[in-house]
Symmetry: C2
């Protein structure tokens, strides 16, 4: 990375000359950012591995979990951030404001934390109606109250027309991780039960339906919801939950790949057990999408010790956000780092890590 360090050290006020810069391989031989770099798949991972991690050079970031767990004055504090650039701003079941709160609340919850405080930074495009800003702000406030978190600090910047898209919001959040809780993808181990909290694919299909003006006969609403309460109920059963992940960008298939790779275990799913609603099956068939890679905003996947699976499932099903919880597979010693599905026809297929998100700007 010597060349890259030199590039950074020589940062000056002059324009960059792409002709004199060597792209770190592979990055798919692109010298420029493509939409896939924001998709949460392989291109995003390369951007982190090859650009951000070397630039920041610290062990905390390397964990690459949804949120970092830090020591602050003796307290175990989870800390997370996400930018929200979803298009359109409003969709069936929610808005960018709901995603900005629930997404960060859920990232904190995926480390077992009890989310407490959020920040909200708005980048507004000149000319956007103040009514739109206000609707987003009220959605942020309502979602925060529903998730029992406080918007503690914020910022507003404005960029010229043509340099934004109405409203972008970046939230960060902090929460306390209870004693004895150690939830991270590295802790998946053979034998773990793999549980999904409910039907998948609804958020992505809801966005597509409005973005493309499609009608699927029935309105499909995003599943955006806060999951911290569900996680608290699961932790009341056992603190020994190994992994939690909310399969947003890239869907369940991407999340499971990340967990398999981080832990070095295999994941085996039963296709028939995966809860895909009929309307998602139909819409995905129409659009040529694989439901396993469609984004969710109010679902989680949990890896739990097999002896705890039934009790955790029962606790999940008793919670409003986990009514549709099902066991979809298990962690295996075979094919370490890989995810496979046992199909309804008796075969198996590999679920690989996609290059990017099928639907750009899904969150």
């Amino acid at each position: 990375m010597a060349d890259l360090a030199t590039v950074a050290a020589e940062a000056t006020a002059t324009a960059v000359d792409p002709a004199n810069w060597t792209c770190p391989a592979p990055l798919r031989d692109q010298p420029v950012v493509v939409m896939g770099h924001g998709g949460g798949g392989a291109l995003s991972a390369e951007l982190i591995d090859q650009v951000f991690a070397p630039a920041y050079g610290n062990p905390t970031l390397a964990a690459l979990t949804d949120s970092a767990v830090l020591d602050l004055g003796g307290a175990r504090v989870a800390f997370s951030t996400d930018s929200y650039v979803v298009r359109p701003l409003f969709f069936p079941g929610g808005s960018l404001g709901d995603l900005a709160v629930n997404g960060t609340v859920n990232d904190l919850a995926m480390s077992g934390a009890r989310p407490a405080y959020l920040s909200a930074a708005f980048v507004l495009e000149e000319g956007v109606e103040l009514a739109v800003v206000e609707r987003i702000a009220h959605a942020v406030g309502a979602a925060a109250r529903a998730a029992d978190v406080i918007i503690a600090t914020g910022d507003t910047k404005v960029v010229e027309s043509g340099h934004g898209d109405g409203v972008y919001v970046t939230t960060a959040g902090v929460g306390l991780v209870p004693d004895g809780v150690d939830i991270r993808p590295q802790r998946a181990r053979p034998g773990d039960a793999v549980i999904v909290s409910g039907p998948i694919g609804l958020h992505g299909v809801a966005i597509m339906s409005v973005r493309e003006g499609l009608e699927f006969g029935i309105e499909i609403a995003s599943d955006t919801a806060p999951l911290a309460g569900l996680v608290a109920d699961m932790l009341a059963v056992t603190r020994d939950i190994h992994v939690l992940r909310d399969p947003t960008r890239g869907g369940l298939g991407t999340s499971l790949n990340e967990i398999a790779r981080a832990s070095g275990t295999g994941v085996r799913l039963r296709e028939r057990a995966i809860p895909v609603p009929d309307e998602v099956v139909n819409a995905c068939g129409f659009l040529g999408l694989d439901p396993l890679y469609v984004a969710n905003e109010g679902r989680l996947v949990a890896f739990v010790p097999p002896q705890e699976a039934e009790a955790v499932l029962a606790a999940m099903r008793a919670h409003p956000q986990g009514g549709g919880a099902v066991l979809v597979g298990e962690c295996v010693e075979d094919h370490p780092g890989m995810v496979v599905v046992a199909t309804a026809l008796g075969g198996t297929r590999v679920v690989d890590l996609p290059l990017g998100e099928q639907l750009p700007r899904i969150c």
Copy 2:
């Protein structure tokens, strides 16, 4: 605000109809966002007071300090966020990456906190050179190391060409507030000494010089720098520092107005004591700007009890970021909430809160 609550409650997937929406007065009778809403002046304050505060409805935000001080598991944690949309991305003395780290580090330091961890969320525009992203990332990493903070978590989103401007970065940060420290604008009181840590106006003039292609005979570099070390040295003299503020957007004049209004005290400055470098005087004269409203990125203004002023000044001058520290005025009982300058000619003039920032996208 009943109408606004109704608007929010009725948020649906339909487009907003500005014709059926009443703008909360005054917001300068604008139904749309203008650049000044991001300028940190009166328009920004109205946006907070009339849109964000009612939407979020919580007491923590209402403090309106640079950072919120929260209780997390018994620890006093400062929490802050800012989005950085400066144009151009690189300028004499720094880059957007430096601002993104130093700006949030300084917001934390202005509550007396020792900054510890930052998040960094990138919104990239499709087509921007990866070399540019990498230079910004390396600037973030280098600035974090210089400020002794860790980039603990991050995010990357990509928007289509024409919906961004290369790179936007939003950072959030957390740090610990030492026991016995209570620094906030409400604590200014008559008699307080008003100290500025060094020459003002350099960041704004540096940005203007490259943005407009101006040459002022001598290159003027941004003053971007982390201030947490300087604050720690000041707190070693006395924990009874009343107010700290880094006068970024809107400059020293805006920060002093915010402090005067929050505390209900008057501020009286001596014009001759305000440290404005000759090159800033010249550039501002040429550009028609008032140095009191030009942005700084590595300066602070402190309100300290008069009996501590000499010792605090001495500690500041012994620190690399405070070598140019000077007493510029004091807090008075006269004209509560107002800032006035005693001019060199023996008169006085009022320093009012500007509507917005003179230079858009300065940070």
